[in-house]
Amino acid sequence: MTGPTSLTPTASPRADQFSAAPVRPPLFPDRVVRRGLFGRIGRDTAFVVGIGLIVVIVGGAVFAPLLTPHDPMMISPTARLRPFSTDHLFGTDRLGRDLFARVVYGARISLFVGVSVAFLAALIGLFIGLVSGYVRALDGLIMRSMDALMSIPGILLAIAMMALFGSSVSNVIISITLVEIPRVARLVRGVVLSLREQVFVEAAVTSGNSSSRIILRHILPNTMAPLIVQASYVCASAMLTESILSFIGAGVPVTVPSWGNVMADGRALWQIRPSMIFVPAVALSLTILAINLVGDSLRDHLDPRLNRKI
């Protein structure tokens, strides 16, 4: 492949007179796959499994009456501690209540608590975070209060509030929301502070936009991705906290069949009937797992900073 050895000009350019470099295939099979956000996330097994589980669980909660003929609260002294059967899929508890019905209906309470807390904590945390990140004068005070709130171990704070204000679903939601707010607020504040430094926000400020307009148009949309991811974690964490509160007797009223309460009921006889605890535990764990899987893949796909794969 050596060409002329001097600098003599070549004659009229005709393709066959040029020495061509060899063309070789690349060292990887050449499959160029370009996908948008939805294409990529749709191929993420964890995400698909998580969403699938959530659909099944939410569906089960919504259509609970269609899944089981039994009333989750109905006590029947004649049908106590029945084993697994076609009628009582997971048997009955020591008061004769159908375990399957209690677990299916229990999903309603747990999901309601989880979603409510996620929504409230995201909303309030977003507001506090925006104010703290944007209004410098209030930043110190707000963040020190959030620090103080975060210095109290979350579950203990919820326990204290529940013990003082009494068992009810709304108190559970308020208590857990209070625990979760500082985490959301700190996240939002962090995003706001980093955005403030960026060129497009500075440009908006210099071109005379009002603060509220800058927050609404420029900052708020950019906090959405991390906020959604955080809300999914808050939801999972709230469901765990609710189950723990109910389990130790500081959660929703004992008559309400939340998963925590069902497990608390199962404690007395768990050594002979472990299913009393394990069935609701598996339901709760699967739900939280599903939410975590979805949250993780949302984080991987939505947050470009964490998207570096090695």
Partner: protein
């Protein structure tokens, strides 16, 4: 036999956007006692090529092919353990960023003695004494105190000296320097280059220097390899290259370099720049890699990738219409 010879070296990366042919068929020879420079702008694959010699690029998204012959042994065939005996012992490397290339939580003395302990059968105290000697050798004053300092207590130039001390601690036969002066102040740059030259002569080390700066090349190199978009486009002795570049890209690089003795008053003072940007090495490039920026480009250049041709003594270039030849319609 050459000390180091790259034969048809290819390094490809799998990226989300496609396959990056960062280095695609590089031939290079480094003889004992010689200094060879690889020149190119960022994205030319020069750093990847230099790092692939010690097989510092790894992971399932990186593959290398071809031969890297060191004293006749192909480094690509060695197992990890044998490779480790080469690294830092027979072939050493220094990097562009002295600010980040040293471990921030490890004392300087330990970082130098680590290399010595790995390759020489000596105890810790001896290694530490050797480390101090190395600091003296690379011209760091108060070497004893510096051994106990952390990198953040040193200036950028000092850190690059420490890097050189680490690299030369086991008296390697080859030193690969990847943009060793780019991140430094101009005055420090000259000091570091002088140090490299001096130590090369004193220790008899061959040097492969990677740079985008032709000033550095003129200062230290015997021979130059010009890389562009993963390809070698020209190779020549440093004198020949500066006197009469063959590849239009080399010519462009030289024109973009300030010449000594020119000033605003001389007619030719203005620096020329090469228009456009380096072509992405992701995906297939049709024809000559430089065609889109070339001032001598012809239709055929977009069609046929020029092969490397030999011009006179030891000069090669990959161009259909090298500088000095007649271009049909220009």
């Amino acid at each position: 036999m050459a000390l180091l010879e790259l034969k048809d070296l290819r390094v490809h990366f799998r990226t989300p956007n496609g396959i990056n042919r960062a280095v695609d068929g590089l031939d290079l020879v480094l003889d004992a006692g010689e200094t060879v420079a690889i020149v190119g702008e960022s994205g030319s694959g020069k750093s990847v090529a230099s790092m692939s010699i010690l097989r510092l690029l790894h992971g399932e998204n990186c593959r290398s092919d071809g031969e890297i012959l060191y004293q006749g042994r192909n480094l690509l065939d060695l197992d990890e353990k044998a490779m480790r005996r080469i690294r830092g012992n027979e072939i050493s490397m220094i990097f562009q960023e002295p600010m980040t290339a040293l471990n921030p939580v490890m004392k300087v003395g330990r970082q130098i003695s680590e290399a010595i302990l790995l390759h020489q059968n000596v105890d810790r105290d001896t290694a530490m004494r050797k480390a101090q000697d190395m600091l003296d050798l690379v011209g760091i004053p108060e070497s004893k105190r510096r051994l106990d300092e952390y990198p953040h207590q040193l200036s950028g130039g000092m850190r690059q000296r420490v890097m050189i001390a680490i690299a030369l601690a086991c008296e390697p036969s080859i030193l690969i320097a990847d943009e060793p002066t780019t991140a430094l102040d101009v005055t420090i740059q000259a000091q570091i280059l002088d140090l490299v030259k001096e130590l090369k002569d004193r220790l008899g080390t061959s040097v492969l220097i990677v740079t985008h700066d032709l000033g550095v090349v003129a200062e230290v190199a015997n021979r130059v390899v010009v890389m562009y978009a993963g390809q070698k486009v020209e190779e020549a002795g440093v004198g020949d290259l500066f006197a009469a570049p063959l590849h239009p890209y080399t010519e462009g690089l030289l024109r973009a370099m300030p010449k000594l003795g020119t000033s605003r008053v001389t007619p030719d003072w203005r620096l020329a720049e090469i228009p456009g940007q380096i072509v992405s090495t992701i995906g297939e490039i049709k024809g000559c890699v430089f065609a889109n920026r070339c001032n001598r480009v012809q239709e055929v250049c977009h069609e046929i990738r020029p092969a490397l041709r030999t011009f006179g003594s030891g000069r090669v270039a990959a161009c259909h219409f090298p500088c000095g030849s007649k271009v049909p319609d220009v």
